[in-house]
């Protein structure tokens, strides 16, 4: 009998996708109003809900949706130095 291919849930199914990044989002906590828009709009689920939004640089692909959507411009995109 043929076996069915079964996959199991794993973080980093494609490895550390943070290596895809060219620009890196950096949060200025002093400006953050905790509206959590960056958190809900992150396509990667790479922003964790801590006291402030915490960006997981291991997996953030650097799309910049968070910086574009931040209503108070608390997130800036900086070029990666790798």
């Amino acid at each position: 009998m043929m076996e069915t291919a079964i996959s199991y849930p794993t973080e980093g199914g494609m490895g550390k996708t943070g290596s895809w990044r060219v620009f890196k989002p950096v949060l200025d906590e002093s400006k953050c109003i905790k509206c959590w828009l960056c958190w809900i709009y992150c396509p990667e689920a790479a922003i964790d809900k801590k006291e402030f939004p915490e960006i997981d640089y291991d997996y953030c692909k650097g799309c910049g949706v968070c910086a574009n959507e931040c209503p108070v411009k608390a997130i800036k995109m900086e070029r990666e130095e790798k």
Binding site: T10, G13, M14, C35, I40, E44, A45, K61, C63
Partner: protein, 298 residues
């Protein structure tokens, strides 16, 4: 409506998946799964989402997922719903998660059949208005004038309205949503989850490589589609259409529709449009809204 900071924190889409940076499908899926919860079974036909799951033996979806042939998703969901009923597991929701290619074109026969039979499942179509996964070919959802690799002078035909085709089957719940309004999307999926019978939700998901725009503007474009009236947010419970969120404000005249050019100019797929093309798009949107206004006045 649940405020965005109060949406559930559980994530069923895991980090480090195979989606492109700025992918709208993953934004939509994250919010939808927050509303559906752990007791969900996804049925995914050929689509970007089959790829986003990553490679065997790993998956980036933390709910059971059945990958099935392009045309078969609604038929497979009917089978899953029947099996769950036989096993007495009525707390599990079978949910089809399909693209517009798999819904408007290839999957429409199975979808229409399942709707007509009144199967007990939710069908979610994330609509990026083309076949993204196979390299940007035109679909039945591609709008007039849009460039794709198979309409490289711009599509000459209008898109069809699948939500209205679904409505003609008289299902208990039909809704359209947008990734720019996650609270509205969450609400609609939650509402669908609490109902029985075939339920249909369609989400507009602007695709950066397919629509030719910068990946940071995914949500901005989804918002502009609603604000310009090119995309409409509504829900229909037992056939009764109610507009929601921003579209409701437009309909009631509390907000003005933004000029369509604002939406078109951000997208490379519309770069070649002539003034006449833009006029034709404008007219088709005006016509659509005239129809909605008449519905509303009734």
């Amino acid at each position: 409506m649940v405020a965005i900071p109060k949406l559930p924190e559980e994530e069923y889409l895991l980090k480090g998946n195979a989606a492109c940076p700025g992918c709208p499908a993953t934004i939509a899926l994250r919010t939808a799964l927050k509303a559906l919860g752990k007791k969900t079974m996804l049925i995914v036909p050929a689509s970007c989402s089959a790829v986003i799951q990553s490679l065997v033996p790993k998956t980036s979806f933390a709910v059971p997922t059945l990958n099935i042939a392009f045309a078969a998703s609604a038929a497979a969901a009917s089978g899953v719903a029947a099996a769950l009923k036989m096993l007495g597991k009525d707390d599990i929701t079978p949910v089809v998660w399909a693209g517009d290619g798999g819904s408007y074109d290839i999957g429409i026969q199975a979808l229409s059949g399942a709707l007509e039979r009144g199967e007990n499942f939710i069908y979610i179509c994330y609509n990026n208005q083309m076949y993204s996964n196979t390299g940007i070919q035109r679909s039945g959802a591609t709008p007039y004038g849009a460039w794709t690799t198979t309409t490289w002078t711009g599509k000459r035909e209008m898109q069809k309205e699948l939500a209205e085709i679904v409505l003609a089957h008289h299902p208990p719940y039909v809704a359209t949503a947008s990734i720019a309004y996650p609270d509205d999307l969450y609400d609609k999926v939650k509402k669908a989850k609490e109902m029985k019978g075939p339920r249909y939700i369609e989400i507009l998901t602007p695709c950066p490589p397919g629509w030719r725009f910068d990946m940071s503007k995914t949500v901005e474009l989804a918002r502009l589609a609603v604000q310009t009236g090119a995309w409409v947010l509504y829900e229909a419970i037992n056939g009764k259409i109610e507009f929601t969120s921003y579209s409701k404000m437009l309909l009631k005249g509390k907000k003005e529709r933004k000029p369509i050019e604002e939406y078109l100019k951000l997208q490379g797929r519309f770069r070649h449009l002539t003034e006449e093309d833009v006029k034709k798009i404008k007219e088709s949107i005006d016509e659509k809204w005239k129809h909605y206004m008449e519905l509303y006045e009734e």
